[in-house]
């Protein structure tokens, strides 16, 4: 069925008409369609296609022709209606994409005064971009992992030569000039400067310093291998310390790292002594070393923050007990254990923050002696299958085995929700120990996302005639977009005990196991 429409003196741009032509042809039941101006060439074409009539033959280049051959007359008419609709459609403002530079150099043309490059590209490409950034005189925060140790050493060599920050690889957290980079919390500015080889450790300490009323001047991340590896030799840690020594706004320097080799540790201590500013060292999992008045060793992350705050206020640090009174603590322990059944024995710690998991392991080991984990350093207690807990178990869910093909559990809570469900099936489980990481980069509502699974797990234990205790701590501040207070309320309304720090949560958990053992 052929339909032809000629609109006199109705000029349209040929490209525009070609677009309409393309659209009309897509309509079901349309065999041929021509929407075009009546130029000589087009008139010939229409004739060849058998889509010409008297009206078409007399058309001029200023006349619009809509000619359609449809399988039915309805299809043809529909096509002509559609063509008219498109021809006279009012154009809304389309959402158009802003131009984005395709490379580091191109970006430097857009923002020539840039002084920092944040790189979170796949590991195989990241080092080259980091090197380029250093060569252009930019400080670098390299979030990516899977960068080889050789590349790291080379990047840090270049950075030292040029006097630039090379934070990372695998550096997840920093606060520079009060601005949170990658996974970081919004904290008050102040006079405590930190260099840390641990991202979540840095988050916990900055948040606690904020809670204790002080603030951060700079928080520099180094990446986990900076001190651990002898060849890396703490290059960035030492440069960070030196920069903080020279920084007028920093009064106290904090160092956080896993225990380095003796040689590196010596160099760190020497660097801290040289500048003369009071300092705190926390080598995670290490008993406190013998410090001095101006150089103190902290045993845990909370103490690290407490010492730093005391030093910044010019006070002497006095070892502090838990923030809860012994009586209050005992009340909680009684309440949490009274309904437990006799078969309930074990702690299961499900962590999204690696350093917080480490800290929990060290605290629990002291009271229970044996803690299984996927990140254990003691070979005997490395979980055979990280997906299956055994006795007392602490899991770092941010470990590679859990993040293949899915986001980090700080971003995607589903990994932990699934695991909570799994642990709930085990009648020997007495207690879940959890961390909740707030701040930029993290899930917008990590507590809210977990609540349902926590309530279900507690119900399950209840139906079995027991009681599941859930202890949590929140790393965050009131200024974080998830809001500390909101998150705490959500956890408490689900029946969780929320402790003021990861350290205290771990202590409470270990006290509860002691209580169970004594029963």
């Amino acid at each position: 069925m052929k339909k032809i429409l000629v609109q006199k003196d109705s000029y349209h741009d040929s490209v525009f008409l070609m677009q309409i032509n393309t659209e009309i042809k897509k309509i079901a039941g349309v065999k041929e369609a021509v929407v075009s101006m009546g130029t000589e060439m087009n008139l010939d074409l229409l004739k060849e296609m058998g889509l010409s009539d008297r009206q078409v033959e007399t058309a001029t280049a200023n006349d619009l022709i809509i000619a359609v051959e449809g399988e039915t007359s309805e299809a043809a008419e529909h096509a002509i209606r559609k063509a008219n609709e498109l021809l006279w459609k009012k154009k809304g403002t389309k959402k158009e994409k802003e131009y984005r530079p395709p490379s580091l150099d191109a970006a430097l043309n857009v923002i020539p005064q840039a002084n920092m490059a944040i790189i979170s590209l796949p590991g195989e490409f990241a080092a080259r971009e980091a090197r380029k950034a250093l060569n252009r005189g930019l400080h670098v925060m390299l979030f990516s992992d899977n960068v080889s140790l050789e590349e790291e050493i080379e990047l840090k060599r270049v950075a030292r030569e040029k006097g630039l920050l090379m934070m990372g690889p695998d550096c997840g957290t920093a606060i520079i000039n009060g601005k949170p980079l990658c996974f970081a919390n919004v904290v008050r500015r102040g006079d405590i400067g930190i260099v840390a080889a641990s991202g979540t450790g840095l988050q916990e300490v900055t948040c606690l310093i904020n809670r204790f009323g002080k603030g951060i001047s700079q928080a520099i991340g180094t990446g986990g291998r900076d001190l651990k590896n002898e060849k890396a030799g703490g290059t960035m840690m030492l440069m960070g310390i030196e920069a903080l020594q020279k920084d007028h706004k920093t009064r106290v320097i904090v160092v956080i790292s896993k225990p380095p080799s003796e040689k590196t540790a010596e160099r760190v201590v020497e660097a801290l002594k040289k500048g003369g500013k009071p300092a705190v060292i926390h080598f995670i999992g290490l008993e406190s070393g013998s410090g001095s008045k101006d150089l103190l060793y902290a045993e845990n992350l909370e103490e690290t923050a407490r010492i730093a705050v005391a030093l910044a206020a010019g006070n002497e640090y006095r070892k502090q007990a838990l923030s809860l009174s012994e009586e209050a603590l005992k009340n909680i322990i009684e309440r949490e254990t009274e309904k437990m059944s006799s078969g309930q024995k074990y702690i299961r710690g499900l962590f999204t923050g690696g350093t917080l998991a480490d800290e929990a392991i060290f605290v629990l080991e002291k009271s229970t002696g044996e803690v299984y984990s996927n990140i254990q350093t003691k070979p005997k207690f490395i979980l055979e299958n990280p997906h299956i807990s055994k006795n007392h178990t602490i899991i770092d869910l941010g470990d590679d085995v859990f993040t293949v093909g899915r986001p980090h559990p700080m971003i995607d809570p589903s990994t932990r929700i699934e695991r909570i469900g799994k642990e709930a099936e085990d009648p020997e489980v007495a207690l879940l120990l959890l961390d909740v990481m707030l701040g930029y980069g993290s899930h917008p509502d990590p507590a809210g996302a977990m609540v349902e699974s926590i309530v279900k797990a507690k119900d399950k234990a209840g139906t079995r005639g027991g009681y599941l205790s859930v202890i949590a701590s929140i790393t965050g501040t009131e200024m974080d977009f998830q809001n500390l207070e909101d998150q705490r309320n959500k956890l408490e309304s689900a029946g969780c005990v929320v402790m003021p720090s990861n350290f205290q949560a771990s202590v409470l958990a270990s006290r509860i196991t002691e209580r169970i053992g004594a029963k």
Binding site: N115, S120, F143, D247
Partner: protein
């Protein structure tokens, strides 16, 4: 900087400056900083050379340094391109004027290709060319002759010439002669036949041949005389004007054609010729928006040719397609072609045609992009972007992207919409590899069968392989 005292000077400087960030990777990190009021630019990062492992290895050798000063060599190449002064000096014939042209020779578009591998439209044009020259009477004879080995096929580019689409040039054809006044080199191109069924799209029916004969016998002589009266025409000036009137010099030549008519009309009417003849010439130009294309092309050819053969230069001096292969040449790599199968054009189709009818990408017209106009000047011709359903903003972004793979900006060809910024000029092979951004090319679409003609127009990207192969050769030649 190895001075011990200054080890952390720059870090302390950072602590007292405003943080300004370039973010490569996860966008949420940039969004966070923007929320916190930090000026942050997100990079639209792609793996170099599309993530090709071999190329990544070669990039490491590039990073280690080359034995030539590429930057200086490229600067020289770009300077020569900018200094060019393409000027229309006359109309001649292929046999008399194109260097190396012979009676039994047919020039074609793109990198070298023999009859056996020629695509439909190019075969059609060859058939038409042989009939036009009187070397064959019909299709069968022409095909036999073409495959006999008696006809020599060579690329236009080997003879300082360029040809749109099939780009077929035979000995009797009239050609525009463009001279680069700064360097004295010349470039040649046939006269544009118009749209529809034409030789360059592979059509060879009687009316096609008749039109070619009319062009030879009437159009060219008349224009040639008018041009003599007018005197030489500065093409750079004309192209610059056309760009400011909505042309980009490749797929849109409406303004350029009109400007040319303005230049010639007063002299045409003064000729001692029949009025009918002059009228026909004027109408022919008026009826063919692409008449100017065959002038912008040789203007660009004699412009970019001057940048060829500079030791150590990674500037691309030729891009061309023959409907079978896409080929490029690079200044510092001599006359070598780097080829890969020609791609399909993404575009709109003329009434009565669809994408199944299309031949792969074809023609020398991409010399315009090579010289820094055409798709590179898309921001000057936003109407063009509709071919791929884009908006004027997309047109702008096409041009902005091309600045990332070029070393210079033209001082004469300017884009009003970009605050009269010069068009991106001097395609740098190394930047293409680094950014993974391929040149944006505006082009027409030919029917895949010989004899049909133009079926649409749109946008095409060259195959990455041409550039990765050239990059490998470049590193092999120049790595330390």
């Amino acid at each position: 900087m190895s001075d011990k005292k200054s080890t952390t000077e720059k870090i302390n400087e950072l602590f007292t400056s405003e943080l300004k960030v370039i973010n490569l990777g996860l966008e949420t990190f940039a969004e966070t900083l923007q929320k916190e009021g930090v000026e942050t630019v997100q990079v639209q990062w792609k793996p170099p050379a599309g993530g090709d492992k071999k190329t990544a290895g070669l990039l490491n050798r590039l990073d280690a340094g080359l034995k030539v000063d590429v930057e200086t060599a490229n600067k020289e190449a770009v300077t020569r391109i900018l200094d060019a002064k393409p000027t229309l000096v006359g109309i001649g014939t292929a046999l008399n004027d194109i260097p190396g042209m012979r009676k039994n020779m047919i020039l074609h578009a793109g990198p070298p290709v023999q009859w056996e591998r020629m695509c439909g439209p190019m075969r059609g044009a060859v058939i038409g060319g042989l009939i036009y020259e009187g070397l064959a009477k019909n299709r069968e004879e022409a095909e036999e002759l073409a495959s006999s080995g008696e006809i020599t096929f060579e690329p236009c580019h080997h003879h300082s010439a360029v040809g749109p689409m099939a780009g077929v040039v035979t000995s009797s054809m009239p050609v525009w002669i463009i001279e680069n006044k700064s360097f004295g080199n010349r470039a040649y191109c046939t006269l544009n036949e118009g749209l529809g069924k034409v030789l360059r799209y592979g059509a060879f029916s009687n009316d096609v041949i008749d039109k070619l004969r009319w062009m030879e016998k009437e159009l060219a002589p008349v224009l040639s005389k008018a041009l003599e009266l007018r005197g030489e025409i500065d093409m750079k000036n004309l192209i610059a004007q056309a760009l400011q009137m909505g042309d980009e010099g490749h797929n849109r030549n409406r303004a350029g054609t009109s400007l040319l008519i303005r230049e010639l009309a007063p002299h045409l009417v003064m000729l001692d010729e029949e009025k009918e003849k002059i009228k026909k010439v004027l109408f022919f130009m008026h009826g063919n928006d692409h008449f100017f294309l065959n002038l912008s092309m040789p203007a660009m050819k004699c412009t970019v040719d001057t940048a060829a053969g500079i030791d150590g230069s990674s500037i691309v001096t030729v891009m061309a397609r023959n409907g079978t292969d896409f080929g490029i040449r690079v200044s510092g790599l001599g006359d070598r072609w780097f080829t890969a199968p020609a791609g399909m054009v993404d575009g709109l189709y003329l009434p009565g045609f669809k994408s199944e009818d299309a031949a792969p990408d074809i023609g020398d017209s991409v010399i315009t992009e090579t010289g820094g106009i055409g798709g590179f000047a898309m921001a000057a011709a936003p109407a063009i972007v509709q071919f791929v359903g884009g908006t004027p903003k997309d047109a702008l972004n096409y041009t902005l992207q091309m600045y990332e793979i070029t070393d210079g900006e033209n001082d004469i060809y300017k884009i009003p919409f970009l605050d009269f910024r010069g068009t991106p000029t001097g395609i740098n092979l190394l930047k293409i590899i680094e950014t993974g951004i391929l040149p944006a090319i505006n082009t027409g679409i030919a029917h895949k069968e010989p004899g049909v003609g133009m079926v649409g127009a749109g946008l095409v990207k060259p195959p990455l392989k041409c550039f990765t192969d050239a990059f490998e050769a470049f590193i092999t030649k120049y790595a330390r």
